[in-house]
C-alpha cells in the first residue's frame, strides 16, 4: 500500500507557471471557467503578497493541485451508481475488490481518480472539495468532472508527472509518502506542512515546504477554513437520481418515467 504525494518546495519555486501550462498541454485542459464559475484547471499557481508577516515582508506562491486526500470529501458525495471494481497492487500483485462510484480513492497508490465513463458531470464532487481542485469539463458536450490524477498514467509509463518534469526549479517533488526513505518523506520529516485547519482535516497529500514568512503567508491565505456547504439542491437531486439510475441499471433500458424525471430535474436546476 502506497500513498503517492507531492511536495512543493517554496524555497525553490520562482512562480513561473510552467507547471500549470505543462499540465494544460498534457491533458488538454480547457481555459476559462465552467458553467458553475469554477476555474477550469487541474493545476495552478497563485502569487501571494508582497504582504506583511510577523517575520517581515513576504511574497511567495500557492502552486495547487488535487491533494489526493486520505478522507476525500469528493468521493463520498458522488451520486453515481456503485459498481464493483478490482484494484491491483503493482508491487505485490495483490488484488482488492471495492464498491466504487464514479470517483474513488485507489487502495494501493492512494490517488483519487475519476471514471469519466460513469461520471454524471453533476459537479457534486467539485462543490465538495475545500481546495477547489475539481471543475467540470463541458468541452465535449458531455460534462465530466476533471482534476489532477497525479499523472498516474505517465507514472505507470515510467515518466514523471508533467508538472514535475517541466519544473526548472525542481520545486515539485513527487513520490511515495508511505516509503520513509523517499524524498517526499524526507521533506515531511523536515516539516513540510499540509494546508489543513481545525474544520478542514481530510488529510491532503500535497505538502508545502518553505521558510517561516513564506509559510505564514501561504497558510494564512490559502488554507481552507471550512468544508464547503453541501449544495442542498444538488444533494437532493443526486439522491433523487439514484433510484432512477438503479432503475436504469435493473431494466437495462431507459423507461419513459426515468426520462421524465430527469428532464424535470434538469429544468428545475435551470430556474
Amino acid at each position: 500500500m502506497s500513498q503517492y504525494g507531492m511536495i512543493i518546495d517554496l524555497e525553490k519555486c520562482v512562480g513561473c507557471h510552467a507547471c500549470a501550462i505543462a499540465c494544460r498541454a498534457e491533458w488538454e485542459v480547457p481555459t476559462g471557467k465552467d458553467s458553475a464559475e469554477r476555474e477550469r484547471r487541474r493545476n495552478w499557481v497563485k502569487r501571494l503578497g508582497p504582504s506583511k508577516t510577523p517575520q517581515g515582508l513576504a511574497s511567495t506562491y500557492y502552486p495547487g493541485l488535487c491533494n489526493h486526500c486520505d478522507k476525500p470529501a469528493c468521493v463520498t458525495v458522488c451520486p453515481a451508481d456503485k459498481v464493483e471494481a478490482t484494484f491491483t497492487d503493482p508491487k505485490s500483485g495483490a488484488t482488492k475488490k471495492m464498491e466504487v462510484a464514479a470517483t474513488w480513492k485507489d487502495p494501493f497508490n492512494g490517488t483519487v481518480q475519476i471514471d469519466k465513463e460513469r461520471c454524471l458531470g453533476c459537479g457534486a464532487c467539485a462543490d465538495a472539495c475545500p481546495y477547489s481542485a475539481r471543475y467540470v469539463n463541458e468541452e465535449e458536450g458531455d460534462p465530466k468532472a476533471d482534476k489532477c490524477t497525479f499523472c498516474v498514467e505517465r507514472v505507470a509509463a515510467g515518466l514523471e508527472p508533467a508538472c514535475v518534469q517541466t519544473c526548472l526549479a525542481r520545486a515539485r517533488i513527487f513520490g511515495d509518502l508511505s516509503d520513509p526513505n523517499s524524498e517526499v518523506s524526507q521533506y515531511v520529516k523536515k516539516g513540510a506542512a499540509k494546508l489543513e485547519s481545525a474544520k478542514v482535516k481530510i488529510g491532503p497529500n500535497v505538502r508545502y515546504y518553505g521558510n517561516k514568512k513564506d509559510m505564514h503567508l501561504l497558510t494564512t491565505t490559502c488554507t481552507p477554513q471550512a468544508m464547503p456547504q453541501a449544495n442542498l439542491r444538488r444533494t437532493i437531486m443526486a439522491h433523487m437520481l439514484k433510484p432512477a439510475m438503479d432503475q436504469v441499471k435493473n431494466l437495462g433500458v431507459l423507461g419513459l418515467a426515468g426520462a421524465v424525471i430527469v428532464k424535470g430535474l434538469s429544468e428545475d436546476e435551470k430556474e
Binding site: S59, V83, K116
Partner: protein, 751 residues
Amino acid sequence: MALNLTRRKFLQTASLAAATAAMSGCFANRANASTPFVKKPFTAPGSFADTKTAVGGVCEMCFWRCQLVGKIRDGKLVKLEGNPKSIDNGASICARGNAGVKLLYDPDRLKFPMKNVGKRGAPQWKRITWDEALDECAAKLKGVVDKYGPHGIAMFPHGSSATYPMGFFEKVVGTPNISEASFFQCRGIRDMAYVATLDTPPDENVDMANAKAILLLGGHFGENVHVSHVKRYLKGLENGAKLIVVDPRFSASAAKADIWVKIKPGTDTAFLLAVMNHLIKTGKYNKAYVEANGVGFDKFSAGIAHATLEWAAKTCDVPAKQIKEVAELLAANAPNVSIHPGRHVSWYGNDFQRERSLACLTGLLGAIGVKGGFVKGKGPKVGKAGGWPKINEEHAEAHALHKMAKKHPFSPPGTPTDLIREAAITGKPYAIKGFVAWGQNPIQTIPDQEMTNKMLQQMDFVMVCDIMPTDITMYADILLPESSYLERYDMIKPGTQWDLSGKQEQYISARMPLVSVTAADHERKDPVWITNEIAKRMGLEKHIPVQSMEEKTDKALAGANLSIEQLVKEGGIHVQPGADPYGSVLKVNFFSQEVADAGFPGIPTYIPVPETPKGYARLVYGRAPVHTFNRSQNNAWLVNEMPENPVWLNDESAKKMGLKDGDRIELVNQDGVKSRTTTVVKVTPGIRKDTVYMAHGYGTMNPAMTVGVGKGIDDQSLITKRAVDPETGAHGMRNNFVKFIKNGKVLNIPA
C-alpha cells in the same frame, strides 16, 4: 449548473452501469460494453500515448532558445517539452515554452499576404497572392531606393527570423537605418558599457551557480524567466549564496533576498559609486587584481571620493548602514561574487554610466574568471553560413545618422531609434520613406507612440512581416505571414552545460521544424524564401547566398562537421567534450580615456534623473513570467494565467487615495495621455510610495488579436516622455509619471 442528463446520457449510463472499466485498469474489460453510440474519449490520452517524438526544436517564445522536443499525434503537435538530451534547459521549459503549442495553432495568426485598402493604423484588409504581395513590396522598396537612396529605408527587426532579411537590407540594399529593439530598447547600453570597461559584451555571463554572493540591480528572476539562467541563480541560492536585490519594488527576487535595498528609482549609480568608494576607502577591494589589470584606477578612486555612504543614502533614500552592509557583504565573499550586468537596462537615459559602474565593481572585487564571478562558458565553434555579401555596407556606413550628427559614439550596431524617427519626420538630414518591420512591434516597444505614428504616416511604403497581428501590423500597406519557429529550419544554437562548474561539455543544436508547414488554410512562408523573392524582384538575385533555410542550417552545421541528418540521429543535440571556462583575466578600464575623449565622463558618474512631480508616481515596468515583451499577448494559455497587468500601488498611498485591492482604474501621465484601457490595482506594502509598477506586454489595441485585445494597460502608451542615453542613443523609458483615475475622477498620489 444543470444536471443536463440527456436521453443520450441515460442510454449510455444504462449500458455502462452493467459494464466496467477505467483508466487505472481496476475494472474488467469495458470493451464488452454494448452501446449504440460512438463515444468520444472523455479524457485526453496524454502527450506520451500514441505520439511520435520530433527532435530538433529550439524555442523562440523568448530569445533564450531552450532546446525542445515535440510530441506529435496524427501530424498535430500536442505538447512541447525540453529535450531530455539538453545540457542547458534539460527536460524543463518555462510557461511560455510550454504554451508554444497555442501560438502554433492560434486561429488569429496571420495566414495570407494582405493588402491594406484602408488607412495606416485603421486598416481594411484585402487578401492578395504572394506574387502580388512580393511584386508590390519589391517595386515600392526599389522605388524608395531609386528616389532617396538605400538609406531611405528603415528596418525594425526582432528575433531570429529577422536575421536574414536584416542582412539583406543592411549589406546588400545598404541602409544603416536598422533599429533592433534588443539593442536600443534593451541591452545595447549594457553591451557597449562593458565593452568600454572590460572590452567584452557581458551577456548574462555571471556564474551565479557557484557564487557566494549575488547582486541584482532590478533583476527579478521568477517574474523574468530564462530556464538555464534561473537554474544558475537557484543553484547559487541553494548553495547558500547571499542575495542582494536593489529594486524600488519587492520583486520575486527581493522575496528571496538576504538584503532588499528599496532604492529610489534612477539613483542606482549613486548607490554603486558609494559601495565602490567604501571598498576603496576601507581597503576591502581586490588590490592584487586591480594593480595587475586596472587602468586609470587612481583617477577613478579620486573621482568617486565624493560618493560617501551618507551622500548616497540621501540620494538613494536608503539607510547608509545598508549600503555599507552591501559593500561589506560583497567584500567578504569576493572574488566569488556575481555582479549581474542586467539585460533590459534602457531605464532613465543615464544608463551607460550605471552599466560602467557595474563593470567597474566587478573588476574592483576581482570577480573575473573565478568561480561565481564574471565567466563566459567556452562554447563550440560553429561556422557561419548563408550570410549576405557586403555589397553596399560602405554606403550604409557613410549615411549612419549618429555618425553624421556626431552623436552617440557608443551606439550599438544599427542606428539609434530616435535619430531614425526624427530624420523620417523632419526629412533631415535625409528622407526616410520606406519602412520594414520584421518580427518587431515598434508600437508597443518604443516610447512616444505618437512619434512612431508620425514616422509611419509619412512613409511612401510600409511593409510588415510577422506571425501574429501585433499593433504594428495595423500600419502595414502590405502584411506578410511568416512561419513560426516550430515550422521552419533556422538558427544554430551552441552553448555549454548550464552549470559552469559541472562536467565540461559543449552542445550544438539547430532549429528544425517539429511540424510540417503545409496546411490548406494558410500560405505562411519562411524568412529566407520571402527575402529571396523580394531580392529577385529588386534585381538583386545574384547576391542571394542560400536558397532555403534548410540549406543555410546544413551549411552552418558543416562548419562543425555536422549535418541536419547527423543532428537528428543524435536526438537534435550534439554534445561533445568542453573546456574549463575559469581562469580568464580581463583588463578593467576604471577610468576610460575613450569615453572621456568622446566628451562623456571617463569615470562612472551619477547623473540625476527628473524628480517625480507632486501628485504623481514614477511608472516602472518589468516582466511577467507568462509573457515575453509584447509578443505573447494573444496566447490563450498564457492570457488565462495572468489576464491583466495589475498596477502595484503602495498600501499607505492607496489608503489615502481611497483605493482598494482589485479596484478598476485607468492611468493618466504627466503629458495628459490617458491609458486606452483599464486594469486593476494591486495594493501592497512591497513598493515605494513614489513608484508604481506594472508588467509590460499587455493592452494590444489590434482587434485581430481576439484573445488579448484591450486586456490590461499598455505601459508603452503612457511612456510619452522620451529619454535618450547620450553615449549610446538607446532609450530610457522610466522617466514618466502617472496618476490614477477611478470612476472618471483623477486621484493624486500622496508623497
